[in-house]
Subunit: 237 residues, 2 copies
Amino acid sequence: MAQANRRRTNRRTIYTTLRQMVLKLELPPGAALSENELAAQLGVSRTPVRESLILLAQEGLVQVFPQIGSFVSRVDPAQVADAQFLREAVELASLDDLPPELDPALLDELRDNLDRQQRPRLGLEEFFELDEAFHQGLMRLSGHGNAWTTVAAAKGHLDRARRLGLVENASPAVFAAQHREIFDAVVGADVALARTAMRTHLRAVFNDIERIRAHSPELFASDPSAVPVRRNVVVWE
Amino acid sequence: MAQANRRRTNRRTIYTTLRQMVLKLELPPGAALSENELAAQLGVSRTPVRESLILLAQEGLVQVFPQIGSFVSRVDPAQVADAQFLREAVELASLDDLPPELDPALLDELRDNLDRQQRPRLGLEEFFELDEAFHQGLMRLSGHGNAWTTVAAAKGHLDRARRLGLVENASPAVFAAQHREIFDAVVGADVALARTAMRTHLRAVFNDIERIRAHSPELFASDPSAVPVRRNVVVWE
DNA sequence: CGAGCAGTACTTGTATACAAGCATCTGTCG
DNA sequence: CGACAGATGCTTGTATACAAGTACTGCTCG
């Protein structure tokens, strides 16, 4: 949120690149990340790579074990549940703070977003971007767009679990319909209905996770304090 | 939350030290932080100091301007409001999740905490620690202790504003009474009353801030994107 | 053949040197 | 006296060398 200067620096680009790769599961949970290797592949020195890994470690997306190695953290069900609780609390509270007059420009943006969600051949990545923008847009309606940033930073584990889920059943249509339901309730100033619809929507996403975990247990952490083993993994391409 | 290994490392100690100094206003908002200077004063090289500052910058407690300098960020009223919204949403939602049977050990811990809050000659720092532990304890009652960690990491600006407020009027007794009121409602399984009391308590803290800002405007950021000036400030002692 | 031990190749943590850029001070010139 | 230009000293960003420690590998010895 708060990095002061937007000046383009190696660390910033590497950080955002690695973060996206982790969230998009291009760097799968458990993958070994060598500072030297990454630096060589990115054509920079260890310094910006290392500083990026430290930031990702603070977010919980990476685990750094001194003298052992750095690894993409496995999806931790406890952290997924924490993030679910957090986002649900914040998004529902945001609905309570909706002003009587909603910003027309924002409403148009949300309507356009919803239309795109229903496009016939929508890619998974596109849907995820639209989904994120939709939820953030709702919070901006009540003036809490910045709080969404904090939530977004804390829900890395939840996002990766959701991605695993959508990769499997690949039916964003249901979620798109739920989005429209929420939006209609908001426009209709029916806060109670909006809350119910939002809660149903968020829980539907969350409830998929146990099924996914049964299907791909190796991507989840059974013991979060366990140290992964070092493996030769093709990291870059 | 997520740093993998608890092995004692220079960066970890420096990070926690600096973080505490910022939150306790020993490093006042706007103070200039030179990596070289800090490194010399702490007897280490720039590396662990620099990495600590990067982490603090990601939390929003420090601003780093390349080729200009690093500064303790001024208290940003917008970020204070964001944190207030976040913590209120999370703590109220946590009350909704209280289980029918409350953990007796935790209840004892909270009772002991409340007793200490009413000790006659209670120092300000002690009260802050008790306050933090009390609110975290409440969230642990509903199994959301980890979510509190995320909130705690995001509310640095709010905490500093609160500290400024308590330094001025110095009456923790009111807050201690509110704490007990919340606790009694929780024990009595009166969720509605607990929510009301919690909301009143959190807002009482928050409403002090505008008054403080009028009193000490130089510690607040009027324009968050403005670059502070470099000054020779005695940082360490 | 098997167990143990030393060597080796890797890891991250830390220190240090250099690069690029901003701000201020000072000397010079109009 | 005032304004401008260059030197100087600071800042953070990056690259690199070394230190400390882990884990595996392969040899040696029983």
